[in-house]
Symmetry: C2
Subunit: 433 residues, 2 copies
């Protein structure tokens, strides 16, 4: 087959967009060897054509008019790294409807409108790939879709937000308070000026919706991901967890038991020997448990110009290979399992409680009796020296309890006059590891 | 498209073969959803048809005649899990020459004759996939070939032999001597009665030859992998390494610098904070560093019935999908880089030495002077309390030194009258981590 020139329309020339330009340039020879094609950035859509850029593109490539790219007959593939929901969604639909394949790094869009876009793509025999949308440079979507195609995935636990993982790592390793660790993350460029999406867990939730949909073969909408952020995590929580042999991490948890699914994002305690516990700083990792394969973990950079660009350009290579074989849009397996969310009584886990209690005789007996009454046994109990006048702290780790028992226990603790307050409460994940 | 029945010929019904049968049965519905095909084991080649089996197959499936499978017109795909070089290689050639696709878990065969088999496959438009041949259940070959197709891989460090990793983990965690840890591995079924291939590093070497060939896009024959096993590793080595903040692991190292490649297997010291250091027991992990993506790691079970079967059956799914699209044998990228091995002077690394020396004044000065004379500076020096009359132990860790400097240093140490002997010497890997 003669050498073919593949023309790419790049939407967005920020950090990841610059990385894509650099990678396509630097690795041109390798890309040619992989695909037998030359890959050229034909148009790059930007908001401001005059702005100073980290990468230089030939005259005429930059444009601020989306139609110059979307209506360009020579462009086969659109790479979308501009982010946001609208107008991006409309652009991608237009691209697909005119037979252009799409590679995107846009987790927000894929978590909210992935099903719609994939169905438009299928109708038009187009590829849509989005490896870069979850865990940056880690090829986790390929692992789920192809590497484990023969297996039934039962659990995925992901550290999929580098900002919060950096903050919690700093709190544990350097004893920093939450606010100081956040400020440090902002100083280093790991956290945005407005860190809400990261800190509140919404960024991780989008990634977990994508992982759950692919891993469990069931449509899992973002609004069915239960989300709790790390805004109320204290240094004391991190330290107590450490004393008990746990590491506190913001994790996404997706579990499937007997066909029923739960997906959540929350700060949780992982046993120190769990492979995710030692994933520090801005690194990401996804732990995947399959019925047949057992425990696996995929680790790497979760963000950054070149790591994310690697995922984008590898997807681009797959599109080009498919194009040469004439099989674009033909290899996607649409979700085929019924959507069955777990009820609270189906969600089983261990739990950690830190209680501030009155410093009187019989308090611990009353509390442990409450757990026993609800049918939940205790794995660890730690009484901590009194922190202030008339108060003591009690740390408890339960054995497996379900969501209903948990609610009853919390209600019960709140009603006990000897319990001043539930200082903190976290799920303990990976105990069956 | 109408439902299609895909008939598989299974060669070998040992541990992995039984796993393949189980997985294809148990996950039939999922496999159907993934491929739109039913997958049936049509024939299974065994040595002894009368032997009691872990899985039951319908009447007439078992055969001890290879031609019943290889000349069977209805069989589209041969799954080879019988192992060995001959007659397996001949069977696979025959299968490919008659247009049958091949999935194999045979690392020995692929390391020795991979290039030949892949070229026969290409001529006949057949697929050959061998994900299970390296690191069992971890989809590492897919990650290299597809996930990082856009990147240039610079280093791969692999814990790719579970037996030796179990032995070294037991030595470190439980203070067991090498022989006791080996006996324990044999008792648990992790090591063969004849553990030579594992302990001497040859099993790992075969996997590294496959990884290097795929990761660096260059033909890397097995006889160019430098191999040193763990037979002479002592408990003292493991302990001294630990005191200095390192973990001793049998690792495969494949590095590419400026187009030149080195591939070796050896016991080496990894800094405790390196992601591979905490990979314990029979688990495998492959650390991959790419120019653009940076550091990644893939972790999971390296062997076992169902983990390995997962890799085999996932390959089977890919063959079936390719078949439905009519693109078998069309997506393989043959090695395209020139084969350029590094000279010793190109191989840079830190090194660890444990020296038994005469317990006299000026010994350390003489030794450190030797390193200085060869242009190698020292990162750590540890003088250990005298172990026996008139002797002391000196532990040294160098900064980066090349293979030529290393040879000169070893010669120099052997010539120094104050050095009783070089008790042990290991490469330190991952220091640039």
């Amino acid at each position: 087959m003669a050498v073919q020139e593949i023309k790419v329309g790049l939407m967005g020339l920020g950090t990841v967009g610059s990385g894509v330009v650099r990678l396509v340039e630097r690795h041109q020879e390798d890309l040619w060897n992989q695909t037998g094609c030359t890959i050229t950035i034909e148009k790059a859509l930007v908001r401001d054509k005059q702005k100073e850029r980290a990468v230089r593109l030939p005259e005429g490539v930059l444009t601020d008019k989306p139609e110059e790219l979307l209506h360009h007959d020579g462009i086969d593939i659109v790479v979308e790294v501009m982010g946001g929901i609208e107008p991006t969604r409309g652009y991608i639909r237009q691209a697909l409807e005119t037979g252009k394949h799409v590679v995107t790094a846009n987790k927000d869009l894929m978590a909210l409108h992935g099903a719609e876009l994939l169905s438009v793509a299928a109708k038009n025999h187009c590829d849509v790939f989005y490896e870069a949308s979850v865990a940056g440079g880690i090829p986790i979507l390929r692992a789920l879709v192809e590497g484990f195609s023969s297996d039934r995935i039962t659990r995925m636990v992901g550290i999929v937000n580098g900002t919060t993982n950096f903050i919690l790592s700093e709190m544990k390793k350097n004893g920093m308070a939450f606010e100081d660790a956040l400020a440090e993350a902002q100083r280093l460029g790991y956290a945005e000026a407005d860190p809400t999406a990261d800190v509140d867990g919404w960024d991780a939730a989008r990634k977990m919706a994508i992982l759950a949909t692919l891993g469990f073969h069931t449509e899992w909408p973002l609004d069915e991901v239960k989300v709790r952020g790390i805004g109320d995590v204290t240094l004391e929580d991190v330290r107590f967890a450490g004393q008990l042999g746990y590491t506190l991490k913001l994790v996404g948890i997706a579990r499937q038991d007997e066909g029923k699914v739960e997906v959540s994002v929350q700060p949780a305690l992982l046993p120190d020997e769990h492979p995710l516990s030692s994933v520090d700083g801005v690194y990401n990792a996804v732990y995947v448990h399959g019925e047949a394969v057992g425990e696996t973990m995929f680790y790497g950079p979760g963000a950054g110009e070149l790591p994310t660009a690697t995922a984008v350009v590898s997807d681009l290579v797959t599109v080009v290979k498919n194009q040469k074989l004439g099989v674009n849009g033909r290899s996607v397996v649409a979700p085929y399992r019924e959507h069955k969310p777990k009820a609270p009584a189906d969600i089983w886990s261990k739990h950690y409680f830190c209680l501030h209690v009155a410093d009187e005789a019989g308090v611990l007996a009353g509390i442990t009796q409450l757990f026993a009454d609800k049918g939940v046994s205790l794995e660890k109990v730690l009484q901590v020296p009194r922190t202030r006048e008339q108060e003591a702290e009690i740390i408890l780790v339960t054995h497996q309890a379900n969501g209903e028992q948990l609610l009853h226990i919390i209600e019960g603790l709140e009603a006990l006059p000897t319990v001043v307050r539930i200082q903190s409460h976290y799920r303990v994940e990976g105990g069956e590891h």
